[in-house]
């Protein structure tokens, strides 16, 4: 089943074409990688999916429903969560409350208080932030702030998670840990689309990869196919 479908999606900023007539699909349960040079339109695509931007033309369908013109909070409540390229955590808010916010607002079936606390703690354990649950978001190191964004997104119990450069700025050890986390989320049955520049991560985690350049899809396939694709090597991977 297709969990997410984009049809002839286009977005312009003045004279600049960010996304141009893009067609793509994401299979339920898949981990899909989205790569391409800077300015290829990757983050714009996430903004179109999550409702931060409205497409000029084309349709986005999530779980079979047209979500092209829905507001971000409505899309989030339907089960499409995201993280941000430059982390947007709440610097003065305790870690716990980030997850509580996601739990209370990100879904339509929030439970009783006891139930909420249990699930919030479970999510904090899952992403590895249980020991810093009372710290303020702004006091965490970058790797933990990125985990916190993931925790907040997971609290809404999403079916699809968009990860925008989760590994950017992390040390090799932290990247290995982040890769583990993404695999673990995938095993929970959450479909994942990830934008990433760390090729090692993309190649080992993703079942399929889509390559964007100038708002166009220039290649799609398994990691092996992408690694050997002539056009991709030319515009992105290099020799």
């Amino acid at each position: 089943m297709k969990i997410l479908e984009a049809e002839r999606l286009s977005k312009h900023f003045g004279g600049l074409t960010a996304i141009s007539g893009l067609n793509m699909e994401v299979e339920q349960g898949a981990i899909l990688g989205l790569i391409g040079p800077n300015g290829a339109g990757k983050t714009t695509l996430f903004n179109l999916f999550s409702g931060a931007l409205r497409a000029d033309t084309g349709v986005v369908r999530f779980k079979g429903h047209d979500i092209t013109r829905l507001k971000p909070h409505r899309i989030a409540r339907r089960g499409l969560a995201r993280t941000f390229q430059s982390v947007k955590i709440f610097s003065r808010m305790p870690v716990m409350d980030h997850v509580r916010l996601g739990y209370l607002f990100g879904r339509l079936d929030a439970g009783e208080k006891g139930e909420a606390d249990r699930e919030i703690n479970e999510i904090l354990e899952f992403v590895g932030l249980a020991s810093v649950r009372d710290s303020r978001g702004g006091d965490l190191i970058l790797a933990n702030q990125k985990r916190l964004e993931v925790a907040r997104a997971l609290a809404g119990r999403p079916d699809l998670l968009l990860l925008d450069e989760l590994m950017a700025g992390l040390t090799p050890t932290e990247i290995a840990e982040a890769m583990e986390l993404v695999k673990k989320i995938g095993r929970r049955g959450v479909t994942i689309v990830m934008i990433e520049h760390v090729m090692k991560a993309i190649m080992s985690i993703c079942g399929r990869i889509i390559v964007l350049d100038h708002g166009l899809k220039i290649a799609e396939g398994t990691p092996e196919e992408i690694a050997q694709d002539k056009t991709v090597i030319e515009v992105y991977l290099g020799e």
């Binding site: 941000f84 947007k88 808010m93 607002f105 809404g156």
Partner: protein, 313 residues
């Protein structure tokens, strides 16, 4: 047990304060009652301003428009309705005005929002003035004055209501959403918060109490016109008092407004010629040496008190 006693401390303090306030007109001069009514008015304005602007960081200068709307409702209905109903009516009018204005302007951010709210006061004031000149043909209105004690009790009731509502909002899901909006509106929206609705409703709730206090206070003035009702001072004072007190705890705006209005009272009576000058100097000193207001000083002191026993042990 100790932590439990600590959580109840604010409630005990609030009840004691309230008991003192309620009994006050019995043993105080009418000057004191009027002075306290005035202080309560500023406390209510500052607390209601803080409900919305504290967590979100949207600096609103619209308070005078909502306060003035309450004053005018009072002018229209004070002869036919009892005081509590007039206060509720003033609150309701401001609530509706804030819903309309909020849904239009809360898309604006930062300075643009502040400028618009400032403009709103002028717009409303001039509209009412135009209406009086061209439609009713009389500028200003005479209000049936109520008894000072009744006005005082009405302000106490509004104060209690705004206190309860503030406390409830801070500890509810709405408070969590407001805090998130203040830090990152985008992240809040993508976490499922209906940002526009949360902002508009909270803005309107805060306006309700401003309108109710305007409707009550107008009964003390007996004569009002657009210039006195929509005086821009009612916009600036709550902001200054919130800066002076702080916005992080419920006591902070109360302390800020109380000290600030007492200061104003002392300065205007003792130094009528230099009071603005002295006021400005004090404000400069406060911002220079107490960047987090009274709250900053009190919290530093409380943390020190908390730390000391453990260091001794």
């Amino acid at each position: 047990m100790k932590t439990r006693a600590k959580t109840y401390r604010p409630f005990i303090a609030a009840i004691t304060l309230l008991a003192l306030l309620v009994g006050l007109p019995g043993y105080m001069s009418s000057y004191t009652v009027i002075l306290l009514t005035n202080i309560l008015m500023y406390v209510v304005l500052t607390l209601s301003w803080t409900i919305f602007s504290g967590p979100t960081g949207y600096i609103s200068l619209a308070s005078a428009a909502f306060f003035g709307a309450g004053v005018y409702v009072s002018a229209l209905f004070s002869s036919s309705l009892p005081l509590p109903l007039v206060a509720m009516g003033g609150g309701a009018a401001s609530f509706i005005l804030a819903l309309l204005v909020g849904s239009l302007t809360l898309r604006l951010k930062g300075m643009y929002f502040t400028m618009f709210t400032f403009g709103l006061v002028e717009l409303v004031r001039n509209s009412v003035h135009w209406w009086e000149v061209n439609i009713t043909g009389t500028v200003g209105r005479i209000i049936l004055a109520a008894d000072n004690t009744a006005i005082f009790y009405s302000m106490v009731a509004i104060f209690v209501a705004v206190l309860v509502v503030s406390h409830w909002i801070t500890h509810s899901r709405l408070g969590l959403a407001l805090q998130a909006i203040g830090e990152s509106e985008e992240a809040a929206a993508h976490s499922g918060v209906n940002v526009t609705k949360v902002k508009t409703v909270t803005f309107a709730v805060s306006a309700f109490f401003m309108g109710a206090s305007g409707a009550t206070m107008s009964m003390r003035w007996t004569y009002i016109d657009p210039t006195t009702a929509f005086n821009i001072q009612f916009s600036f004072m709550p902001v200054l008092m919130a800066i002076f007190g702080g916005t992080g705890h419920l006591y902070a705006p109360i302390a800020g407004a109380t000290v600030f209005s007492l200061l104003e009272e002392v300065l205007t009576t003792k130094f009528p010629y230099y009071y603005m000058l002295l006021f400005g100097l004090i404000m400069l000193v406060v911002i220079r040496f107490m960047p987090h207001g009274l709250e900053g000083v009190i919290e530093t002191w409380r943390n020190r008190e908390k730390r000391e026993p453990s260091e001794a042990a």
